[in-house]
């Protein structure tokens, strides 16, 4: 079995007439943590959504665990052990917290149940207190925890986190970063998009920088940390 969990080859994506991704090559190997960086509107979200089958106008190839799944339905890609925490969260406001979690639970690709309902509640005690609340009643931080918890309940091998800390108070941000580190430590492969570049450099093995729908720069996080000028050039920070 291939150790590449997810791969984009020469991926192009379009929204109507606008050409957003221009031939992106992107690989996620099992066990690594990738920071996906780029200024606003450079195509990070579009890249993730295209690989997950959520953008219909595409050219190029998407491979999941080495098999070609460019035209596969999104649920089939997800069932290959890929979980997605979307930008702007994505809880179901009309379902209770419990229902949000329960409806998603399933075994991992090799049949394992590392993440059970009980373990999620132990990991996110705040959720345990609010099980009977409607999703719409949660604070931003709680919604984010619910989205992450729900993703983990699908027992994924790869977790894609798009702006998981955006719009949260600093204290809650720190809590979310701790949770991400905890998840990483359990051996789940992760791709993280975030505005906090130094946090990403600290936590990731590798970074990929997108610029105008193309990969502008790739490096080991350790190298990038030692050459702050590089990041400055591509990210303006």
């Amino acid at each position: 079995m291939s150790d590449t969990l997810l791969e984009a080859r020469e991926l192009h994506a379009y929204y109507g007439a606008s050409h957003i991704l221009h031939g992106v090559n992107f690989r996620v190997e099992r066990g690594e943590t990738i920071g996906l960086l780029g200024r606003n509107g450079m195509g990070k979200t579009t890249l993730i959504r295209s690989m997950l089958g959520l953008v219909s106008q595409r050219d190029g190839e998407v491979l999941v665990r080495g098999s070609l799944m460019t035209r596969a339905a999104p649920h089939l890609i997800a069932r290959q052990g890929i979980a997605y925490v979307p930008e702007g969260r994505g809880i179901f406001p009309n379902l209770s917290v419990r229902e949000n979690l329960v409806m998603a639970a399933r075994a991992g690709v090799d049949g394992h149940y590392h993440w059970t309902y009980e373990r999620i509640l132990a990991t996110f005690p705040r959720l345990a207190e609010r099980l009977d609340n409607g999703g719409w009643q949660l604070s931003g931080g709680e919604q984010q925890m619910l989205t992450i918890g729900r993703a983990l309940l699908t027992n994924p091998d790869l977790l894609l986190l798009d702006e998981a800390t955006e719009g949260l108070a600093p204290l809650i941000r720190r809590e979310i970063w701790k949770i991400i580190q905890h998840i990483q430590a359990t051996g789940i492969t992760t791709v993280i998009v975030d505005k906090n570049h130094s946090a990403i450099l600290d936590i990731s093995d590798r970074i990929v920088v997108l610029n105008k729908g193309q990969v502008a720069f790739e490096a080991n996080s350790a190298d990038a940390r030692n050459q702050p000028g590089l990041l400055h050039r591509y990210l303006g920070v």
């Binding site: 339905a73 999104p74 649920h75 997800a78 997605y84 994505g90 179901f92 409806m103 998603a104």
Partner: protein, 288 residues
Amino acid sequence: MDLVTFLIQLLNGLQYGLLLFLVASGLTLIFGIMGIINLAHGSFYMIGAYLAFSLSTLTGNLFTAILLGIVLSAVLGIILEWLLISRLYHRDHLEQVLLTYGLILIFEALRSILVGDDVHSIAIPAILNHSIPLTDTLSYPVYRIFISMVCLILAGLMYGVIQRTRLGMMIRAGASNREMVQSLGINIQLVYRLVFAMGFTLAAFAGMLAAPISSVYPGMGDQVLIICFVVVVIGGIGSVWGALVAALLIGLVDTFSKVFFPELAGITVYLLMAMVLLWRPEGLFRMT
């Protein structure tokens, strides 16, 4: 009006309302959750009634006919969603209305070819063909009570499925964020297919139940379709409980207005709709 007459009308109104609920619940789910305006929903009711007629003529037993009819309707619903309705999800309401209106014409033409244009009646099965005496002269038919009971049981079952099962959670989640449901590895297409087939079967089943008391005639789905849209609008689009409340309300208003204001009977339900919309433009309840 004396108490017994009132009671009879009350039971009639409830029975009519519950039957409407069976049809309208599917319509509101298909509209609210799948985003499809299904004008052919009344035809499903008509198909049910004609299935009851044809199959009971064939088998000689209404209950056997209904069982067979349920299976056939479910299969038809699945085929229809797979063949046509699934192509409408990403299209606008005009195209949905065109296709589903076309379906009404096709179903009516097929009915005419296969069964003809005559009005038919179906006998109430012998074991239910009794009346409960209320006074020396007035009595209430058992079959109508049977209809109400069956509808109540089905309403309870629907509540259970939608509120308590994982399928129900997926259905409700799909109404709020279809993409996210897919990203969790759930085949939303399949969920929609089940919802549509369930809506089809419920409407057809209502037609089968009603056939012995309303008889079976061409165009019988049209009237039901219009009233059911009124139910959906009053109850709130996508709300099954709204549909239940609104259907009962309409059943009672329609029945009693025929008694008290026979000259207005044709328009009271529309007046009711106008009043509710002035008061709550979104309908009585929010999406399920």
